[in-house]
């Protein structure tokens, strides 16, 4: 990775004109690979990017990355950029679109050793999330100026993470993750203005299977403040409890039962079942899939 380079003239850099996707590998198997490939392809089309490979070829490249690197737990990223100008043209329709992919060790927004402490978040005051009328958040992108500003604010205020509101004052998302709130025993997550995350989708499905009431809806700042549990979801770490908000405990300040249950189910779904595309031999079967030895899946 320290050698991997892109052209400085790639408008993926100089215009942030690109889309990307990230799929995880857990215990040698991709998680929901087909959904990530489908979303990536759809997002390329939405930006009128011509992916230089078809889906089968992209799939093979990602599989080869894992076979070659032998990374058993990996963060696998694919990027399609508008690419550099060809013959000095300023017309992006004529550029040579580029594809990049890499695999690195699995990325944890919240490290497993801190999983039972959780994250301290703020509701950002210095930045609102870029509105969908400007940049479509469902087309995964690197327009992170607002999220980065929120993150610096969080550090200044003694926290780790920032939740951004939209211009109507409703919750959107944080830097690299969707957000869920348990409010009056219902599991709420913003319906618009956010990435339609695949971890988010997984949690909605797992929660529904548990007969938890879920709602994709507008989540007001007040809902966030009165939530008894808050958590973030991302391919980079799964289900990550937020136990402090603006310096106050969320609920009783510990990781809540809904969060724990969904986190366990999330990792259980990585062992076997329809979401798993195995590349390397399974090794964790005996110990359970969960990264936390003390937190293996148990039926409630």
């Amino acid at each position: 990775m320290s050698q991997a380079r892109i052209p400085i003239t790639d408008t993926g850099f100089t215009r942030s004109d690109l889309t990307y996707d990230v799929v995880s590998v857990w215990d040698g198997a991709f998680f929901r690979l087909e959904e990530h490939l489908a979303r990536f392809e759809r997002n390329c089309q939405r930006l009128r990017l011509q992916l230089p490979h078809d889906r089968a070829a992209v799939r093979n490249i990602l599989i080869e990355l894992i076979e070659a690197s032998e990374l058993r737990e990996a963060y696998v990223e694919m990027i399609c950029t508008r690419g550099p100008s060809v013959n000095g043209s300023r017309d992006p329709r004529t550029f040579a679109n580029c594809f990049y992919a890499f695999a690195i060790p699995y990325v944890w927004i919240l490290k497993p050793e801190d999983a039972d402490v959780g994250m301290a978040a703020v509701i950002a005051r210095t930045a609102r999330r870029i509105p969908p009328g400007s940049v479509d958040p469902t087309v995964k992108n690197f327009h992170w100026g607002d999220l980065t500003k929120g993150l610096f604010e969080a550090y200044d205020r003694g926290a780790d993470q920032a939740l951004l509101l939209d211009y109507a004052g409703n919750l959107t998302e944080g830097p690299g993750y969707n957000v869920f709130a348990v409010v009056e025993r219902r599991l709420l997550t913003p319906s618009t203005g956010v990435l339609e995350g695949i971890t988010r989708r997984t949690i909605l499905e797992l929660a529904a299977a548990e007969e938890l009431e879920t709602r994709e809806t507008q989540v007001s700042e007040q809902d966030v403040r009165r939530a008894t549990e808050l958590f973030a979801t991302s391919t980079a770490g799964g289900v990550m409890p937020i136990t402090r908000l603006d310096g106050q405990p969320v609920g009783d300040g510990t990781v809540g039962t809904v969060t724990r249950r969904l986190r366990d189910l999330y990792w259980a779904a990585h062992v076997s079942g329809p979401f798993v595309t195995r590349v390397l031999p399974e090794l964790r079967a005996d110990t359970g899939a969960s990264p936390w030895a003390t937190s293996n899946v148990s039926k409630a």
Copy 2:
């Protein structure tokens, strides 16, 4: 340039976490070099980027680029990015900020041979400019998703360029340029929600010296539609007439007298005077500085 690369892990790419500036070289001399250097430095500070070089060192690097390339008319870009993560940290405060610079032949958003035809623009319907509450447009950045979307819309509608409105319906800017409108003999340009362009500033100063009434103000969509002249300003091309808007002629559809006058004065300011930092010997002295042989500076 075809060999110039940046690390794929640079968060200047993967988070668009950077600022940049572009200064032009005309007839072997930089134009308003100190203002560009000052703006770049200020913008790095605003993003809490630690520029690895002081101003004198950056200045020397840019001068060396011109001496080495012998580009007499050049587009010189300097970029400071947050850089790659160090030791796997996710905290951008700990990243190793990077500086990149390059010089390429002068870039024309509107080619000189088309300067007296002008550009055909649309007022974008499919994208609004990212609001300052999300990403500060005065900190020059690569968050171009909205501008690129507008550009594709322009092509679809048979035009070359897109002017973006804000969420209140007022004019902001286009892809890489500020916009001016002559309305009731006053020269208007948006006061907020835009880059404070150095070409924009130059035009405001030149217009004031000509005793043209200028206003930095809110420019409504209606103002744009009833303007008798419209033009774009950028380091990449100077003063660029917009002669068609949404398929209709602007004024009488030709390049207006205010636009012509300011364009001539703009190029005259590149020959000599306080804005010029000479690097290579002057060659155009005999022919005038203007790129258009037929359009040399003449007193009105």
